[in-house]
């Protein structure tokens, strides 16, 4: 961290780069770590000229818990519950990322029922995560009603998860060798009831925010990110797709049952805040489509193929696997020395790369647009710091 601080100090003490005769003296504003719009304990140092943002530098580490290092102290099964706490809004996808790399490396078998359940719960959680983002995004723009609407509908999915999984947020459900429990007898009925309910509520979302002239005027043309810069910065997920790059691991490298279902990858054109908003709204509809296709066709079979207490041994070497969470690509790199505990684990988290696009998006814009831009990236801070 000391390197980072010294560059900050150099910037603060450095000469002003203001060149226009109308520009004023530059100054610095510290945003966070205690700030309602940074969604956690993120700190941004802003270099401002009047109301124009000249530079945004994120400062990290306020929730760094050393999850990667902790992974070396337990076995593979014990690492799964730690990744729940990274991106807690995509806990199931995080579980799946670790599970996938362990299963691939140890050559463990799964069956179609396990893959169908995993795909279903991950898509349900994608809807849940986008609902929360939608509510909080509305609140950051100054509208309070979306917050109530989004959380009201999110509770329905929480109920479904509670019945099957037993938890509302940190699931620890998808494990190497299967899923922890079989689905609840009411699962299919509940999901169908939710889909009917949610499809009737989507027009309400649209009437409130999407078709709202104030929201459209507020979001169009701010926080632009070009496709070239998005790829160069390593952005993934809705942030990349809003810039016009149709990259989705569910399509390009299908895992689970994604190759058997029919869905579209929504893509934006200009990469501004409005495109990011629109891409997420469209993704919710696509997730509903995926769930609809799978919910009637869950195959029969076992849901856990190994003994829960069995030790998993991964062959020595470097293994990598990645999944598409609600925020982008989560990759897990595993270095194994052949024992039952990992030698080194590294997580390539989507939020870290997406956050660093804020410099590209906000520079040159107004400070009033900064919160809208930051909120449109949809960051989860513990996933950045790990």
């Amino acid at each position: 961290m000391s390197v980072h601080v010294s560059t900050l100090q150099a910037r603060i003490s450095g000469e002003s780069t203001a060149s226009s005769p109308l520009s004023t003296e530059e100054y610095f504003v510290n945003m966070g770590p205690q700030h309602p719009s940074t969604h956690g304990v993120l700190r941004l140092v802003l270099r401002l000229d009047g109301e124009t943002v000249r530079e945004v530098v994120p400062v990290l580490g306020y929730i760094h818990r050393g999850i990667e290092k902790m992974g070396e102290h337990g076995n593979y099964r014990q690492f799964v519950h730690l990744v729940d706490r990274m991106d807690y809004l995509s806990a199931l996808a995080n579980n799946w990322a670790v599970t996938m790399v362990v299963e691939k490396a140890a050559k463990m078998e799964t069956n179609d029922r396990i893959q169908a359940i995993r795909t279903l719960v991950c898509e349900l959680q994608r809807i849940q995560s986008h609902q929360l983002w939608w509510g909080v995004f509305g609140m950051d723009l100054g509208a309070f009603t979306p917050f109530f609407y989004g959380l009201r509908d999110r509770e329905q999915i929480c109920d479904i998860f509670e019945k099957t999984i037993g938890a509302r947020l940190t699931m620890n459900y998808i494990q190497p060798g299967g899923v922890m429990y079989d689905i609840h007898p009411d699962f299919v009925k509940d999901v169908k009831a939710f889909l009917t309910y949610f499809k009737s509520k989507m027009p309400e979302y649209d009437a409130l925010m999407t078709e709202n002239v104030i929201i459209q005027e507020r979001l169009r043309g701010i926080g632009k990110l070009s496709a070239e810069r998005a790829i160069a910065l390593g952005a993934t997920g809705p942030v990349l797709r809003a810039s016009g790059v149709a990259h989705d691991l569910r399509k390009s490298e299908p895992y689970g049952l994604y190759s058997q279902v029919d869905f579209d990858v929504p893509v934006g054109t200009t990469g501004d805040c409005w495109d990011r908003y629109w891409v997420r709204m469209e993704e919710m509809r696509q997730s509903v489509r995926i769930v609809e296709q799978l919910i009637d066709n869950i195959p029969e079979g076992k849901t856990f193929l190994v003994k829960p207490a069995a030790k998993i041994k991964v062959p020595a070497g470097v293994h990598y696997s990645h999944v598409e969470t609600a925020r982008g690509v989560l990759g897990v790199l595993l270095v194994s020395n052949g024992k039952d505990a990992p030698y080194r684990i590294h997580c390539r988290t989507p939020n870290f790369n997406n956050l660093w696009c804020i410099g590209e998006m906000a520079t040159g814009g107004r400070i009033g647009d900064l919160v809208a831009t930051l909120s449109s990236i949809d960051i989860v801070v513990p996933d950045i710091d790990r």
């Binding site: 306020y62 337990g74 513990p382």
Partner: protein
């Protein structure tokens, strides 16, 4: 509040019936304090989402308990809900936030991380093992993360504590109601009996069994 708490008891107490009045004023102040808690919007990780569900979602609706006015500035808030892990880098900032809040201030530690470090208790090189190492905590709400209902139970316990707690005669001293967090129907005698049973059970140790158990563990550790 300063004028009232500093001067009022001295003026009232010598009067006939004055002490009764002081107690009545005590109760009035505590009652109003307990029903108008202003929480600070502070959350570091997962528990913050469940707290958002508790405040925002219509199903839970914290406004029922008079605590829905969440303030982003610590100077306007009097309830600090520590929702999430506190790491070494955040610890001084948390202390600053607590110091900036106006008296009387109350602290709730929600979630295992804020209580003892939770899942990050072992092998983590940054986590603070419990927020009470930095600031005094009034109520602990266990869970990882606690459900909104558990959060409300903690809030009700805190309200009970405030109502029964501080008095003008002894400002700053908080009496913690022991029975506040007990399930319904449980009495102090039940707890005493349970404690005695536990003690008698723990006092009788079978040394051979304990030694065998220890050997088993050490063998497992060596293997690990």
């Amino acid at each position: 509040m300063g004028v009232i708490t500093d001067n009022l008891p001295g003026v009232l107490e010598p009067l006939p019936g004055g002490s009764v009045l002081v107690t009545a004023v005590d109760q009035l102040i505590n009652w109003s304090r307990s029903n108008s808690l202003w929480p600070l919007t502070f959350g570091t990780s997962c528990c913050a989402i469940e707290m958002m569900m508790a405040t925002g979602a219509a199903r839970h609706d914290m406004a029922r308990f008079g605590a829905e006015v969440a303030r982003p500035s610590p100077r306007q808030a009097d309830l600090l809900v520590i929702a999430g892990t506190i790491v070494k880098r955040m610890a001084p900032r948390l202390r600053t936030l607590y110091e900036q809040m106006a008296e009387p201030r109350y602290v709730m530690a929600t979630g295992s991380c804020a209580i003892c470090g939770g899942p990050f208790m072992y092998h983590s090189y940054t986590t603070i093992r419990g927020a009470d190492e930095i600031i005094p905590v009034d109520v602990y709400v266990p869970g990882c993360p606690p459900r909104p209902e558990a959060f409300f139970y903690g809030l009700l316990t805190l309200q009970k504590m405030i109502r029964e707690g501080e008095s003008i005669r002894h400002p700053g001293e908080r009496r913690r109601p022991v029975l506040a967090a007990l399930p319904e129907g449980m009495t102090l005698d039940d707890i005493r009996k349970e404690m005695q049973d536990l003690l008698s059970h723990d006092a009788n140790v079978n040394m051979t069994e304990a030694a065998a158990e220890g050997a088993h563990y050490s063998a497992e550790l060596k293997d690990f």
